[in-house]
């Protein structure tokens, strides 16, 4: 089970789970609640290369579409295609519903992400 305390966060509400040279990325509970019932995700392709801040995909609720942004530079190595059929997983268990795994190509950028405590404060300000 993934826990908040082990993750890093972006100000676009992605969570990042770094595992050695690779990392998983998903959408936080705060954002999934703000979006409401999630009914659609669009994922990129394996081997797609993104820079920090690039839009890599889309998450849509009944009401709205939101871009998913790459937390740091990376190359996609694996997709969670289950999300395409069961997008509601993101509402039910946001930390389990990862979007993609990527190879970290610039580890120094991790220092620019928020810690769990930073992110909690960030959400309080946005709420």
């Amino acid at each position: 089970m993934r826990e908040m305390k082990d993750l890093l966060f972006t100000n676009e509400h992605e969570w990042v789970d770094v595992q050695g040279e690779e990392a998983y990325v998903g959408l936080t509970e705060f954002a999934s609640k703000a979006l409401g019932d999630i009914v659609f995700v669009e994922l990129p392709e394996v081997d797609d290369e993104f820079s920090m801040g690039d839009s890599f995909g889309v998450v849509e609720s009944v009401k709205a579409a939101a871009d998913m942004y790459m937390p740091i530079d990376g190359v996609v190595t694996e997709l969670n295609t289950e999300l395409e059929d069961e997008p509601a997983q993101i509402n039910q268990a946001p930390l389990e519903g990862w979007f993609l795994k990527f190879k970290v190509t610039n580890k120094e950028q991790l220092g620019e992400l928020m810690t769990p405590a930073d992110y909690e404060r960030f959400c309080e300000e946005e709420a």
């Binding site: 409401g36 019932d37 659609f40 889309v58 849509e60 009944v62």
Partner: protein, 369 residues
């Protein structure tokens, strides 16, 4: 929510799980339990909407009927007391100022129910047009609270709270002085969901009493407070237009497929010259329904393409909670769409194919007596 006005239900909403947003300057609930659950409750049981943001204008005087005939597109001459008509209000160029309901109390007294976001604009327009008529306009929006109870169980639930036989109120008619939970109300069999149900108007400070009584009366029957989110998905499925989407100050009612509510034969009215011309010489655009054939959700304002050329734009699109299909409505060039069965919707960097389908997407189940 700073600056946004409170309805009589805003505080109840905030205390009962409402996710609050600012809409047309009002502090309102967009969802409670969740959009899909609320949508389904209205289709299968009953949902209650706070619609106190809507505007109400009383039109009275010996010139009231002549004034409405000139101001609005529908024909009010054959109306009986306690009947309701849906109509457009147009500019001289035939585009839409607002869409509204007209309630006839008597031949010289009518209640007009207008969209929240258009209240100031509508009243300015209505006053400007009233100069040559013997009418008085009274904006009652600030004193009038409104809720809508919608769904197949709406009548059964509300009947518990009143001695008036609700089954005697037919589709698009109303009664005033209906006492619900001890409160004096005006009740009409109308709505914006495609289900049977009522809209209930009462004094601003009395609405919460009616609201909480309905929640209590329906709690064993699956009643659900319903937010603005599902109000839009429900009206969309039922093919009911939303101002700013299917109709607007750049779209005529004939383009939006609302010709039934435009009575060109009644004589001159504001916009009739252009609308007559459109009817005789061709309506430039057409509102169509479509269903996506591949993955994606078509959203409002996305481009509609045909063989690489833009022919229009999406007015509303959703994953329909009732149909479980990705569907939408679009306003397209009438000549370009002739004989066409398949179009493409530009969704971000992809053109997703879509087949044309008939509107409305969901058929009404309202009671008509």
């Amino acid at each position: 929510m700073e600056g946004a006005r409170k309805t009589p239900i805003t505080d109840w909403n905030a205390a009962n799980g409402g996710k609050m947003v600012e809409y047309a300057g009002w502090d309102m609930a967009v969802t409670y339990e969740g959009l899909i659950a609320e949508h389904n409750a209205v289709r299968e049981k009953a949902g209650v909407f706070d619609v106190s943001h809507m505007g109400e204008v009383l039109v009275e005087g010996p010139g009231a009927l002549d004034y409405l005939q000139y101001l609005l597109t529908n024909d009010f001459s054959g109306m009986e007391d306690r009947e309701i008509l849906y109509t457009m209000m147009c500019y001289e160029n035939g585009t839409v100022v607002d869409d509204l309901l007209v309630y006839r109390y008597e031949a010289d007294r009518y209640l007009l129910v207008i969209n929240a976001g258009n209240v100031a604009k509508d009243i300015e327009w209505m006053e400007k047009q009233a100069k040559d008529f013997k009418v008085t306009l009274t904006n009652q929006s600030d004193e009038t609270g409104e809720l809508a109870i919608q769904g197949p169980l709406a009548e059964e639930i509300m009947q518990k709270l009143t001695d008036t036989n609700l089954s005697e109120i037919g589709f698009f008619s109303f009664r005033d002085n209906v006492v619900i939970a001890g409160v004096d109300c005006l009740v009409s069999r109308t709505g914006y969901t495609g289900e049977d149900g009522f809209e209930v108007y009462t004094a601003w400070d009395q609405l919460l009493t009616v609201w909480t009584a309905l929640m209590e009366a329906g709690k064993d029957m699956g009643i659900q407070p319903a937010g603005l989110g599902c109000r839009d998905t429900l009206r969309f499925e039922a093919g009911l237009p939303l101002y700013g989407h299917e109709i607007s100050e750049t779209i005529t009612p004939l383009e939006a497929g609302l010709g039934y509510f435009v009575k060109l034969k009644k004589g001159k009215f504001i916009g009739s010259d252009v609308l007559n011309d459109q009817k005789e010489n061709g309506i430039p655009r057409k509102l169509i329904g479509f269903e996506l054939l591949e993955r994606g959700i078509a959203r409002a304002d996305y481009d509609v393409m045909l063989d690489g050329k833009k022919i229009g734009f999406v007015t509303t699109g959703y994953l329909s909670p009732t149909l479980q299909k990705n569907v939408g409505q679009a306003l397209v060039d009438r000549k370009a769409i002739e004989g066409v069965e398949e179009i493409q919707i530009q969704i971000r960097n992809k053109q997703v194919p879509a087949k044309l389908v008939k509107l409305p997407l969901y058929k009404k189940r309202t009671k008509s007596r």
